[in-house]
């Protein structure tokens, strides 16, 4: 089983998404929560990094945190999947361990 990484900071303010991307293995999963959800938007300066990650990792975004900040699934990069809290729980259960990039 692969590892689940969570990121909760905006990549425009802090570097934890970058740290996560460069220390997560192929086949692992990354879940963007809290302020990190804005990193999933289309057309940002980190869009290329995330698109590269999507090629060999599973990238998810917590939908309610996206909605809370005024965005929907239509606003995020193709290939990023939206989950709710139940989906968040499933991801934690399905992966071998979890690391929160704080």
């Amino acid at each position: 089983m692969a590892m689940l990484h969570t990121v909760n900071k905006s990549p425009f303010e802090r570097s934890s998404l970058n740290s996560c991307l460069n220390k997560s293995k192929e086949g692992s999963s990354i879940l963007l929560i809290e302020d990190a959800v804005v990193g999933a938007l289309k057309g940002t300066k980190v869009a290329d990094d995330l698109s590269a990650a999507i090629a060999n990792k599973n990238v998810y975004v917590l939908g309610s945190d996206l909605n809370t900040r005024g965005f929907t699934e239509a606003d995020i990069l193709d290939g990023i999947k939206t989950v709710d809290y139940a989906g968040f729980v499933d991801l934690v259960a399905e992966h071998s361990n979890v690391q929160s990039w704080l």
């Binding site: 809290e34 309610s64 139940a86 934690v92 979890v98 704080l102």
Partner: protein, 130 residues
């Protein structure tokens, strides 16, 4: 599956406690077990029973307390982190000669070993912080 949750940020200042609460609720609804919720760093401030949030906002401490009552959650506040920040239960206030206490009865104060033990006993330990 058994989860231990570690909450490292105080209420309102940061979303961490809210996220952890929503996660705990969803996990319990799916039939999972929350082995322990451990409050550390400024997360100990979630245990104050004296907060008065505006009426149109959520009451984070009461939300945790209600969830704990419904599911018999073990909510542990780190004693070292709590003492640093002036969070005391009645016993501790008496022992330290302080004139007040502020820990909500739904929480209990204990040592950091409870966090490590939570990591050993649970299938997953999940951190919510800043």
């Amino acid at each position: 599956m058994k989860f231990t949750l570690l909450i490292n940020e105080g209420p309102y200042q940061h979303q961490a406690s809210d996220t952890a609460y929503q996660f705990a609720k969803a996990a319990l609804e799916k039939g999972h077990e929350i082995y322990r919720v451990f409050f550390y760093n400024d997360g100990v401030n979630n245990a104050t029973r004296l907060a008065i949030p505006p009426q149109d906002d959520r009451n984070i401490t009461e939300n945790w307390a209600a969830l704990a009552k419904e599911h018999e959650l073990d909510m542990v506040v780190c004693i070292a982190a709590a003492q640093r920040r002036g969070m005391l239960d009645a016993d501790e206030a008496g022992r330290q000669g302080k004139d007040a206490n502020n820990i909500h009865p739904a929480f209990r104060i204990s040592g950091l070993g409870q966090l490590v033990e939570g990591g050993i006993q649970a299938d997953r330990l999940l951190t919510f912080g800043d």
